[in-house]
Symmetry: D2
Subunit: 162 residues, 4 copies
């Protein structure tokens, strides 16, 4: 029988990322605060460290698709934001971040009390950053992997975000 529990991609122990801008957290939180879309859907930035960002989204009826699960586009929105800010933690203070592209696989219906999108930088760079993300649905303290993402970000130098 096939066990259905999520299995991670091959994990290689990596050195921790050291941010160029020690004040990255204030910069990320201010930028997140300007995202009207995150406020509209009720998402909040729940964890942040260099190269990593998590966003939490409590379940609401007005976030659903036709079967009552969270809409794939809303799942995409939180994991795209998580990815963008995972990358942004590593950018210089005078740079902005834009998503070049993302690709999302939906693995299970997004139901439960809340979703948690986690994203981690796989490869930072001066021009582009490559990020992977996962979205989990939490119900009764149990987590189900419901989406995975692969994303490309671009660093806009000399364009401070604020």
């Amino acid at each position: 029988m096939i066990t259905m529990s999520p299995r991670p991609a091959t994990a290689t122990a990596g050195k921790a990322f050291v941010p160029i801008d020690p004040d990255y957290e204030a910069r990320v939180r201010a930028s997140f605060g300007r995202q009207g879309a995150m406020r509209l859907i009720g998402a909040r930035l729940s964890a942040l460290r260099p190269g990593y960002c998590a966003i939490e989204l409590p379940f609401r009826d007005d976030l659903t698709q036709q079967h009552g699960y969270v809409h794939a586009g809303i799942i995409g929105a939180i994991v795209d934001s998580a990815g963008g800010y995972a990358g942004f933690t590593l950018f210089p203070a005078d740079a902005s971040v834009l998503t070049v592209e993302y690709k999302l696989n939906l693995l299970a219906p997004a139901a439960g009390e809340r979703l948690i999108a986690e994203a981690e930088v796989v490869k930072p760079g001066r021009t582009l950053a490559i990020v992977r993300g996962e979205v989990y649905a939490e119900a009764d303290c149990k987590r189900t992997l419901c989406a995975i993402m692969q994303q490309t970000l671009i660093v806009l130098l000399g364009k401070a975000d604020g």
Copy 2:
């Protein structure tokens, strides 16, 4: 000099799709009406024909990312829905549609009066359907291509949508 106007992918004239379910429009509109997320963001289904769907989204401040443009995730949400319903027009009456995955490239900042997401089935099938989509920003009656999408849908037979 490089002209910046959008250029389509190679277009081959195709025969029109003939839907299995002649009442596809009522079925799609009822399903769209159940999408809480589309209502929340103010999206409306603006055009529908076999294998094709367009969704319109008037610009609002609460749909933005940190620079005041429409959030990439919201762009993904409308073009994912447009793609899903483009496919759904061709499904049997007792089937549901789910997104397996989508991939979105962002080409230009999504600003203006409204966005229009268009999606068209490239390859229908009994189990999977493959769809392409575009998102345009309209301002002063001028359209700018701001995103393109490639998507895989799955047909859930024997699970009527309603």
Copy 3:
């Protein structure tokens, strides 16, 4: 009944691309000639114009996957090259091209006498270019769409390709 013929993505009439480098064709052909992988699999550059490239691949038994169709990776290889050179036609003479990422959907088994990969630039840019591609299988003068691609290229300025 659903007709199975391929349908293009929404086509918007676009102005023709004007290349920065009038000698783009010689530059592309010289670069293609340096691709050992294209020679190994027997691919040839069959058409080229600003923002567009086609690559032809005669069927061979040593290009197959386990069922005797052309391997998805070989399909990816020719359409990735076609996309890269579609973009490269529009680059300055002293720039190189690299693929940032591509996403390929397989639509039908790649069988027949030969494959034709076509790619067209959707959005050129100073740093990135976005491209769409299709792969057709030809048998008895009939074309079947067997794959579609979406791709991001990066322009490496000041690094002539040769």
Copy 4:
């Protein structure tokens, strides 16, 4: 300063996969042996366990793109095969595997003595399986992450592979 070492996606400890077919290894190796494309490029299946597959590719001049690195399409070919066989280990004995789609991000030039593509199933299923992959370049016993992949497979029941 940003450290450039690869960082994995968030890893969650998963239960091991238990294959339906205890003879999965013989089935995978026989199928791999039928892939003309893998033989042509000199790839070999280097590791296999339930839900996991690794493919090794020694560097050769005839696998290159225009700058002398391994062609993105060849990188795609080995990681697509690794993904397909990672999924195939978990399929029933009378089923075949086909790639629905894959998306590949190129992170670093693929140079060195050999490439190693690793792929792991993230979500198995009765109809679809979702897989992640990485490609490493090895030189002087040092590994560089040069590509990451996200892939969808389809299970073709009742169509034994051989």
